[in-house]
Symmetry: C2
Subunit: 339 residues, 2 copies
Amino acid sequence: MLTAQNKSQPRPPAFDDIVKPVVPHMQALGDFLDNQVEQFETDIRDLVRYSLQNQGKRLRPLLVFFGGWREGEVNPDLVRAAAVVELVHLATLIHDDILDDATLRHNSDTVSARYGSTAAVLVGDALFSQALVLAAEFPTVDVCRAVSLSTRRVCAGEIRQTFERGNAAFSLEEYFRVIDLKTAELFSVSSRLGASLAGYDEAFSEAAGKFSRHLGVAYQIFDDLADYLGDEEKIGKTLGTDLASGKFTLPMLVLFQRLPRGEQKLFLQRVRRGELNPSQLAGVMKDYAVIAEVSSSFERELAKADDVLAPFANLEPVPRLLNLSKFVLSQFERLAVSS
Amino acid sequence: MLTAQNKSQPRPPAFDDIVKPVVPHMQALGDFLDNQVEQFETDIRDLVRYSLQNQGKRLRPLLVFFGGWREGEVNPDLVRAAAVVELVHLATLIHDDILDDATLRHNSDTVSARYGSTAAVLVGDALFSQALVLAAEFPTVDVCRAVSLSTRRVCAGEIRQTFERGNAAFSLEEYFRVIDLKTAELFSVSSRLGASLAGYDEAFSEAAGKFSRHLGVAYQIFDDLADYLGDEEKIGKTLGTDLASGKFTLPMLVLFQRLPRGEQKLFLQRVRRGELNPSQLAGVMKDYAVIAEVSSSFERELAKADDVLAPFANLEPVPRLLNLSKFVLSQFERLAVSS
């Protein structure tokens, strides 16, 4: 369990420490993305500029840079690849925020809240197109293929999740399939591309991809738990949207399984009628030890992630990637332990 | 004027005659697209299958095949390129139908009417991704680059149009810029790719692209007029959506310019209040000779299209492409003359 681990392990690195070595890379990415605005047609530059202001943690670019890490080098190919995955991610976020009716993202109005859903659908499409324009600037079709395949899978995951809204009988197996597609896929392609563009061999590139796939699953579990336990102001986005839109994620699926059979139906009715707010639900989750089970799933994925890299311990990217998994762990712990 | 031309010119070829030589190619495309369904994740195949059932005229694939025409040959590269542009087109149609609240397309429920707008946003994204997956199967990045650039421009055109909704002061110049981006761009890339993939030289590929750009503008003018004058049952899609959504297209822009200054304000109010249905508007348009001016714009574009091909009259694709412009002309005439 998490609290036991906390005692025996050293303090995890803070996010600022993790990103310190990669500051010049992230700065280069920021400049690169700023310059992208001028690549778009004049008609839509303001909208694109607003869409690119999103100041997330840029985890996918971090995976590109760390997957292809070589000390002291800002490789322009990695900067471009990082821009590609970040643009794809921003496009999917913009479309997600329309579908979830979310109004807040990183403490700013979402694109759909600010410009309307019509413009938001289309600017998402435009950002995705531009990601592929950049992918086509590499000498071979590899980046185009990898990114478009991944994006198709991300969409498939999102659609599957949409179809299952309101379905409390959604199995855990199906839940893990959905998050593998919708989140882990793009994490995976990010570090795989980073490694291969930096000249690491196929075996390590594949391993970097697998590591990030597990990390992505773990991260999504964290994100799904945060939707119930998080602090909207700290996290900077609208929370409780999963419940509001009938998305049953891991915490709710586990809770539902643990409820006495006779109580499931009534509970589901109360949820559907919106009679339980997220903080009440968090209370019920504590009563049924839901967080402990969610924590186990989370830890299992992170352990798998770290194991994949064990044979490559001597390569430069490995300690960097492992730092990211430590960071995700520390985020999760802060959330789960404080609740 | 159109009626005068009708008397002095031979009967234009029927659509069936035009597509006769390309039947094996279109059949190969149909099979290719059918097989695409299995390429998508199992979770979304039914939705993809439904989305691909759209039985339009497949004008963009025709432009690919005719742009790269060589008698007696079904070139698999052209079939793949045709699938790429058709998938991009279907993706944009699906997104458009959400934004326009359209429920009918080719006499079937739109994807958004059938599966909801959430699934429609995402399946549009998935189709676009798959288009790029196919584009990445070519040995060089050329197809990826051309298609993603075009798609970005299509989106820019759509967004611009969205921002100008309800703006009756939208200039004709701006209107032509929007339709160049949102329609002519993909027409252009279709025949340009067809020509270059079939081994025609740069000069002809460029010309084929320019021809189709003008053809695309002409086609959009036809489509915009049909939204007012068309017969919903014959055309097989929801009409009158431009007016309903406040999109001012060429017929309305011309009409508005021709109204006496004192009447413009009242007229606009009546339009905004929905007091004029499309057939009443068609009557007003006739009173102000709007259709004659729209016809002139249409004819001017078609003439430019045909002129671009004049220096290449000895090449196999040219009579095929010219047949398409004759067909678009005949469609326009049927609409404008019958009204």
